[in-house]
């Protein structure tokens, strides 16, 4: 039996149409985008600039506001460490506000800054993973230089209200960064009306290749200042040196355009499947909790806790089904989820949690198999525990 993959929040397979767009750049169109003195280089540079336009249009940005990176982790590091390191903001203050449920690639740079003497406010969330906006507004001081709140959480899928957060930040004159890794290409984003100043995104979560992402940095009202993390060569307007990953960038452009074109239909289809999965499991089993806000969340994600069952045991019982017991980036460490911890879940509920994340290639037939398999496995595991 082939594996049923329901771990799209960890990574996605490359869409064949994306691969088709990339393939010429793996063979004849192999130029270095900085070699603008010859045909190969120009061809590569033109392809890169076209993607800058494609990606910018998906979020309502100007192409000059897009900096290509090696992925969302680098984008998040660049946004947070780069803004904190910019002399313009250093003169204003050293306070950063973020949320306890952010991805590690936001939390770790913030902790790094905290060790260097910056003040960091770690906002909590309620039991459904939602942020209290009044708490956010109250946390802003005249020393605050940056607010970083993710759009969609990777473990529970909960969406934060970017437009409202952006409005608060704008009113208080504070930069607003959002980690859009899980939402870019899946949820509509408009940096203008949402008031976003910096946005991180990744290609490999949207059926593009690994090793490529971007950071959006607003150029006007305000013009975001950012210190580079990588020096040498002055690529990407001096913000990110290093030979551009042209095939990867081309793949991200194709992936972003496809997601944007198919977003509404794809989201509706995936939501139906996700709801079928959730209802199928919950109606057949007692003691199942949905973690995170039931409505305000990504259409593709459901994070379930099974009372009396260990999530890892459940995964091991279903070797033909790829799901996740925590976020991929920390699951190697086998630490209990800090995201669910922030929701106030007790240890048993955290241990019993499994994330199902659906995607473009998920079928109704697969959902049927998964429901049956989960129900059977949970019953069997519970029976062993009792006996």
């Amino acid at each position: 039996m082939s594996t049923i993959y329901l771990d799209y929040n960890a990574t996605t397979p490359v869409d064949p149409r994306v691969l088709d767009a990339m393939m010429p750049f793996f063979s004849n169109r192999f130029g270095n985008a900085s070699s603008r003195h010859h045909a190969y280089g120009c061809d590569a540079a033109e392809a890169v600039e076209a993607v800058r336009g494609q990606v910018a249009s998906v979020i309502g940005a100007d192409p000059r506001e897009i900096v290509f990176t090696s992925g969302a982790t680098e984008s998040n590091n660049l946004a947070i460490l780069g803004v904190a390191g910019a002399p313009m903001y250093a003169s204003k203050g050293n306070h950063i506000i973020t949320v306890a449920t952010e991805h590690r690639s936001v939390l770790d740079p913030c902790e790094h800054l905290e060790r260097k003497g910056y003040q960091v406010t770690w906002l909590g969330v309620d039991s459904q993973g939602c942020l209290n906006l009044q708490h956010l507004a109250d946390a802003i001081t005249d020393q605050t230089i940056l607010v970083s709140v993710m759009h969609a959480n990777n473990e529970i899928g909960v969406l934060h209200p970017l437009r409202e957060i952006g409005a608060i930040c704008k009113e208080r004159g504070v930069l607003f960064h959002t980690d859009g890794t899980q939402s870019f290409g899946k949820e509509p984003i408009d940096v203008g009306s949402f008031g976003i100043d910096l946005l991180s995104a990744s290609a490999h979560k949207i059926y593009g290749p690994k090793g490529v992402g971007f950071l959006y940095l607003r150029r006007r009202d305000p013009h975001v200042r950012c210190e580079p993390l990588l020096h040498g060569g002055g690529h990407e307007r001096g913000l990110r040196s290093g030979t551009l990953n042209v095939p990867g960038i081309v793949g991200m452009g194709a992936a972003a355009t496809l997601c944007s074109q198919e977003m509404a239909a794809e989201q509706a289809r995936i939501r139906r499947l996700r709801n079928r999965l959730e209802r199928g499991i919950c109606s057949a089993l007692d003691g199942v909790h949905v973690n995170g806000h039931p409505e305000r969340r990504l259409a593709n994600t459901t994070n379930l806790s099974f009372a009396g069952v260990d999530g890892d045991d459940l995964m091991k019982r279903m070797p033909g089904i790829a799901v996740s017991s925590s976020s991929a980036c920390t699951s190697a460490a086998l630490q209990p989820s800090y995201v669910l911890g922030a929701l106030g879940c007790d240890e048993e509920r955290i241990r019993g949690s499994v994330r199902f994340s659906l995607g473009r290639f998920t079928t109704a037939a697969e959902i049927g198999i998964v429901v049956a398999s989960v129900v059977e496995s949970v019953k069997a595991l519970r029976a062993t525990t009792r006996s």
């Binding site: 594996t3 771990d7 960890a10 990574t11 397979p13 793996f26 063979s27 192999f30 130029g31 270095n32 900085s34 070699s35 603008r36 003195h37 010859h38 045909a39 190969y40 280089g41 990176t69 090696s70 992925g71 982790t73 680098e74 590091n77 991805h103 690639s105 939390l107 740079p109 790094h112 990744s202 290749p209 690994k210 090793g211 490529v212 993390l229 020096h231 040498g232 060569g233 002055g234 690529h235 040196s241 290093g242 030979t243 990953n245 042209v246 095939p247 990867g248 890892d312 995964m315 070797p319 089904i321 790829a322 799901v323 996740s324 017991s325 991929a328 980036c329 920390t330 699951s331 190697a332």
Partner: protein, 377 residues
């Protein structure tokens, strides 16, 4: 189209492409089968690459490119050893990724010394030794230069550094796969796309025990030295490119040297020129020449119009049109620097390519000399 700009980037070799296409798509941090398959690819690649150069695989950290690896080496070691000292030595002909990382250090209170080079582009070991102070915490000298190809005496530098317990970094992005090479430095930068591997993968090999702190954090990947989902496909292609390059090196490199000699002789016979770089201790794929009285930029553009890709400097700097810091460090004046062109060969360069260059270049030299404002008798 004739491509003689392989020091800038290379065509992906079929074996590497096949390895990438066969790669598992999972996230190596996921514990299910798809994730484990991806993890295995990454770990196998780590072993292949490290062992190809006689290094401990646990010291190999994958990055997105050589620039990132250079930055991690320079900035990561400098920060880790800040309590011990604040002095960094780099050769004057380093890649901008090293030099600009050093410049960033100098803005935050570090002292940077540039080890000078002679007219062939080689560092002077006795000068390097004299630059060392008790506050020196890093020496960075590249293995082979990207613009002129000159090889540096890295074994001797490694000895100097080892005797004083100073970490030694070498950027081997151009040299790996082209010369017999082992990890003798404490930190070594590698790049996949310079050796017919894919874009998007580089590596920094770090001798276990070398003090270093990460630059990119969040998730604890790569021994907590480089956070971020591994670029599995590119890493698989990288390992295959290393394996294949080393397997064919004894066959391909002599051929490359023969073709380069053919190019050099052919050009010399037809046009007055000077070869930049060491006459013998030089990377096999690079030929950097000065055509007196010719504007190198104009030459590159004219060659492009004839379907031939070369470079007037390193690709990384070619956007900026700043005269080469490498030729300058070798004592060349602005005029000579501007009159230089870099030809760089790859494993797929043919005798026909060289013949075409030998036929095209001298005619252009004559034409450009005739219109050049700087030409002198």
């Amino acid at each position: 189209m004739i491509y003689l700009d392989n020091a800038s980037t290379t065509r992906l070799r079929p074996e590497a492409r096949a390895a990438m296409q066969a790669a598992a798509f999972g996230n190596p941090s996921s514990i299910h089968a798809a994730g484990r398959a991806a993890r295995k690819l990454v770990e196998d690649a780590r072993e292949t690459i490290a062992e190809s150069y006689g290094g401990d695989p646990k010291g190999l950290v994958f990055t997105s490119c050589a620039t990132e690896a250079d930055n991690l080496a320079v900035l990561g070691v400098a920060e880790a050893l800040r309590a011990r000292g604040n002095h960094v030595i780099a050769s004057a002909v380093e890649h901008p990724a090293v030099l600009e990382a050093c410049a960033a250090l100098s803005r935050i209170g570090y002292e940077i010394s540039r080890a000078p080079v002679d007219e062939d582009g080689k560092i002077d070991l006795s000068v390097l030794e004299r630059l060392v102070t008790p506050r020196t915490i890093l020496i960075s000298v590249m293995t082979g230069n990207n613009e002129v190809g000159t090889l540096q005496p890295i074994e001797a530098v490694a000895e100097i550094a080892r005797a004083r317990k100073i970490p030694f970094h070498t950027d081997a992005a151009q040299a790996a796969g082209k010369i017999p090479f082992r990890f003798t430095a404490d930190l070594v930068t590698l790049s996949a796309h310079k050796m017919h591997g894919p874009r998007g993968a580089g590596a920094l090999w770090i001798r276990p025990g070398t003090p270093i702190v990460p630059r990119q954090v969040g998730g604890g990947h790569e021994f907590e030295l480089r956070a971020g989902t591994e670029n599995v496909e590119a890493i698989a292609g990288f390992a295959e490119a290393v394996r294949a390059a080393e397997a064919e090196r004894s066959e391909v490199v002599p051929l490359m040297e023969r073709l380069r000699a053919l190019l050099e002789e052919g050009l010399r016979a037809a046009a007055p020129m000077r070869v930049n770089g060491h006459p013998t201790e030089r990377l096999p794929h690079i030929l950097n020449v000065t055509f007196p009285g010719v504007d190198g930029e104009a030459m590159v553009v004219a060659l492009d119009a004839e379907g031939m890709c070369v470079s007037s400097g390193s690709a990384c700097a070619s956007q900026s049109l700043i005269p080469s810091h490498v030729l300058k460090a070798m004592g060349r004046g602005d005029e000579e620097t501007r009159a230089s062109v870099r030809f760089s060969l790859g494993r797929d360069t043919t005798e026909e390519d060289i013949g075409a260059a030998v036929a095209a270049v001298p005619k252009l030299v004559a034409r450009l000399r005739a219109i050049s404002p700087v030409v002198r008798p």
